[in-house]
Amino acid sequence: MGNKQTIFTDEQLDAYQDCTFFTRKEILRLHGRYHELAPHLVPMDYTEEPDVKLPLALIVNMPELKENPFRNRIVESFSEDGLGNLSFNDFVDMFSVLSEMAPRELKAIYAFKIYDFNVDNYICKEDLEKTLNKLTREELTAEEVNLVCEKSIEEADLDGDNKLSFADFENMIARAPDFLSTFHIRI
């Protein structure tokens, strides 16, 4: 292409294109978005792979994530340290998995991580309660929350251990007709 950009080397852009669902243009645009979150922290020149991480508070204020009740969990799931500090790699990764082109299996893996609040590789009743409260802004009564959690576990738990393992979750998501259309963010 004609335009010479100096943010990434060609090799880096190729790597990004192979490892994510974005094109070169979109990756450059993503870099622009990442940069405008913290212009003084994020360098314009990424050829040397600087080790810059943006804190959780900056990322969840992005318009795409602002209204999402699970924004904190989403950012935490994609960060290396689990606290929500995203490097540019993690940033691109996050939006790649949440883009429309990502396959169902990949999205199911990350959806499981997002809904697993206590990070024990199971979605137990407490995780479900937290999910439900975030989903309804805590306007259901405790009784209703309890009923819903019990019913969900009863529906999806296949191996009878009263919590959802990844296999249960994936099996349930595989038959969900709306999962792909709801679990994506456009950027």
Partner: protein, 777 residues
């Protein structure tokens, strides 16, 4: 047996006394297990008595599988245990062939997934897919750094392979990228995608599914236009006899009225059947003539629609209904797939929260409703059935009333020549009555269903079913009455019109039929437009100007009632299909009409409607809508075949004037083909072929049904097996960690190194089976 068992125990202990990760991982299981495994103190939950001595020999083979309680590998366990079927009779006999097969190298991969590691889950799944070079990098659930490392590894391994192979791979890679880009571009080119996205954001997925259905119908009709244009219209226009008089006289045309009534210049245009005359195409032989092409075009259109509709219905059915309500996961879907991650506007977010809340509350209400139903007394049930009987009778009387209304309208409507309003009213009487009936009755049905004490989804479904039946039955009845009217007309011996008037309405019943369908389509469109302008918009203005008036509050702004709008679309498409043969340009008119309907509905939606309080299960109902479309197609085909076979085509209009019936024309064409082909065609159309065909279909259907039943049973058994295997696993884990603990405590207490299990006792009270058999004299 005992020594063998104890030998195995020794091996068990010595192998794993150092495996600290295992106990650490299952440390948190220890507290849980006693509480979750009430009755499993003494034996595997699934073992039958009498085979317990086999158990210890089973254990060593399972060491590698115990860590597979970590997520992602639970499906491996049943097969890992498959080698021990004889020892653990937890599986029902004869089911081993149904267990999934493991990937070979997985048992040794003990991932170091610590609960605190955020990438741990991905690593296990990554391990299971590590060596699949075909899985694209994008689909790997790893962090970016690891993906880039894998990429470098793959590229390096590519250097090692010879250059031909690497060239081929890079070509494959480029082709894949190109295909993805092209698909992306084409997908983005779909019309109105931005509008649909906006609609989805503001009003939800259900409303968007209506507009998707509308767009699908537009595509379908465009496809039909191509066929009709190419096979019926073009030959008629190209090869028509220019010398024939067009039959149009000056005092017949009435301007705009003609457009509405289908008379005058419209009658003699390609819109109606009478325009198409039988012309032999030069150099085409006996077979290639316009009637055959006409017939071929119609048949192609109907078959294409049938195939497309069937495909859509079947795909939707497979996805949503096949597993039935036994596996319904509605609550899970609401919780995990409820939130639309695309929402950016705070108002939409608030709305979505409210929708989800209402949905969940409704779902809970349905649960409690089901419980209430199961607790009904006999007397209550009797009362309820009596009430339902009365209400159904009421529905039937309403239907009968509407049919008689249409009957009178059909028979009263005659042709007046003077004036402007009166002829319009008379001609449109059947259409008006059908539309009135179709608009009023569904709302009545909705109110009636509210009294019948069904659960909410069932109320919606039954209203839908009744409305579908109403729309299709009124159309069917109308066609029947038309047919009757024509018959009585023919019998009353009207004097024939002067022969100079070609294609006159009296002698061409096909044109009449086509005109009725044309009028139906036109009126349907007019009604929709007038409804938007005269009802919806003023309602919105009223609500906005006088918000405090109580009457206005009672009416409120409308919400977009998806099922009724979709049924309107289905009805109009059915009318198009029925009238297609007698008014070939009806599909073109229909395309224009659908386009206008899209914009009108969009206007009504954005300016006059509020978002519904309850979300609509779009995916389930789309199957219902496509199925209804299929039913409409069936009606069209039945009517057409009836008309074609039972009624003789009129002698002075249309492409089939020279033949007494359409089949005569096809048979004369078939007669020109070589004799073996003729014989085969005769065989295919005879009864000798139909009967074996029907028998073969019955056999195939039976085999599919029985296979479906067997699969359902297998699903149940596999589910039970899964639960039992998981319970087995927990039991084994518990036992294993108990052994380790007692071993450690015995070692630390300085007791002898003899790890024979004679003195071991599990704190939760269970005793190893082996011991019991050993210790009993």
């Amino acid at each position: 047996m005992a020594t063998r068992g104890s030998g195995n125990f020794m091996r068990l202990v010595s192998d794993d006394s150092n495996a600290s990760t295992l106990t650490e991982d299952f440390g948190n299981h220890q507290e849980e297990l006693p509480s979750t495994l009430p009755g499993e103190q003494e034996q595997l939950p699934s073992t039958l008595p009498g085979e317990q001595e086999q158990l210890p020999s089973a254990l060593p083979g399972e060491q590698e599988q115990l860590p597979s309680t970590l997520p992602g590998e639970q499906e491996q366990l049943p097969s890992a245990l498959s080698g021990e079927q004889e020892q653990l009779p937890s599986t029902l006999p004869g089911e081993q062939e149904q267990l999934p097969s493991t990937l070979p190298g997985e048992q040794e991969q003990l991932p170091s997934a610590l609960p605190g590691c955020h990438r741990g889950l991905e690593e296990e799944l990554y391990f299971s897919r590590k060596w699949d070079p075909n899985l694209p990098l994008k689909n790997l659930p790893l962090s970016m750094q690891e993906k880039r490392k894998t990429r470098e590894q793959r590229q390096q391994s590519r250097h090692i392979i010879d250059c031909c192979e690497s060239w081929r791979r890079s070509q494959q890679h480029m082709r894949k990228r190109l295909r993805e880009q092209v698909a992306r571009v084409i997908w983005g080119l779909q019309p109105w995608s931005k509008t649909m996205h906006k609609i989805e954001g503001k009003f939800g997925v259900g409303v968007k599914s209506y507009f998707t259905f509308l767009r699908y119908l537009i595509y379908l009709n465009l496809l039909h236009c191509l066929f009709i244009g190419g096979l019926a219209l073009a030959p008629a226009l190209l090869f028509r006899d220019k010398n024939k008089p067009s039959g149009l006289t000056a005092n017949e045309s009435r301007g705009a009225l003609d457009l509405l009534l289908g008379t005058g210049f419209v009658e003699h245009s390609p819109v109606f059947y009478g325009f198409y005359t039988p012309v032999s195409i030069p150099h085409g032989g006996l077979c290639l003539n316009t009637p055959l092409l006409f017939l071929a075009g119609m048949a192609a259109v109907l078959m294409l629609s049938a195939v497309m509709e069937l495909r859509r219905t079947v795909i939707g059915y497979k996805h949503t209904w096949l597993l039935g309500n036994r596996y319904n996961l509605h609550m899970c879907y609401k919780v995990f797939c409820g939130w639309d991650f695309c929402i950016q506007d705070p108002n939409s977010a608030r709305l979505k929260h409210r929708l989800i809340r209402n949905d969940i509350r409704l779902e809970l209400q349905e649960e409690s409703f089901h419980q209430r139903v199961s607790q009904r007394t006999f007397r209550q049930r009797l009362q309820l059935y009596f009430l339902r009987g009365i209400l159904n009778f009421l529905v039937l009387t309403l239907l009968a009333g509407s049919f008689s209304l249409i009957y009178f309208a059909t028979h009263i409507s005659n042709k007046e020549k003077e004036g402007w309003i009166l002829p319009l009213l008379y001609e449109y009487l059947p259409s008006i009555s059908i539309t009135v009936v179709n608009v009023l009755l569904p709302h009545l049905f909705r109110r009636i269903a509210a009294f019948e004490d069904y659960s909410l989804t069932w109320q919606v479904n039954i209203t839908l079913v009744r409305s579908i039946f109403l729309k299709l039955a009124t159309l069917g009845m109308f066609l029947l009455f038309l047919h009757q009217k024509d018959l009585t007309f023919v019998k009353t011996n009207q004097p024939p019109e002067p022969p100079a008037k070609l294609n006159s309405s009296k002698n061409c019943w096909e044109n009449e039929f086509g005109k009725e369908m044309y009028k139906l389509v036109v009126f349907d469109f007019l009604a929709g437009g007038l409804n938007a302008v005269l009802l919806e918009y003023p309602r919105k203005l009223l609500v906005e100007k006088y918000p405090s008036c109580s009457l206005v509050k009672a009416i409120g702004k409308q919400s977009f009632l998806i099922p009724f709008h979709v049924l309107d679309l289905v009805y109009s498409q059915t009318v198009t299909w029925v009238g297609l043969f007698y008014s070939p340009l009806l599909v073109h008119i229909s395309v224009i009409k659908l386009l206008l309907v899209f914009y009108i509905k969009k206007f009504v939606l954005f300016h006059c409607c509020v978002p519904a309080q309850r979300s609509f299960r779009g995916s389930q109902s789309s199957v219902l809508f496509h199925f209804t479309l299929l039913l409409g197609l069936l009606i069209a085909v039945v009517t057409l075949s009836f008309n074609v076979t039972m009624r003789t085509s009129s002698q002075d209009c249309g492409p089939f004037v020279n033949y007494s019936s359409i089949f005569n024309m096809t048979s004369s064409c078939v007669g020109t083909l070589p004799s073996p082909v003729q014989r085969t065609i005769h065989y295919f159309t005879s009864e000798a072929f139909a009967l074996p065909l029907i028998l073969a279909e019955i056999v195939v259907l039976t085999s599919f049904v029985s296979q479906g039943r067997a699969n359902r049973k297998a699903i149940e058994r596999l589910k039970e097996m899964l639960i039992m295997c998981s319970a087995d696993k927990r039991y084994l884990v518990k036992k294993h960690s108990a052994w380790l603990r007692t071993l450690k405590s015995s070692v630390s207490a300085g007791t002898c190194e003899d790890a024979r299990p004679t003195a071991l006792k599990d704190p939760s009270g269970f005793q190893p089976l082996l011991l019991r058999s050993v210790s009993t004299p």
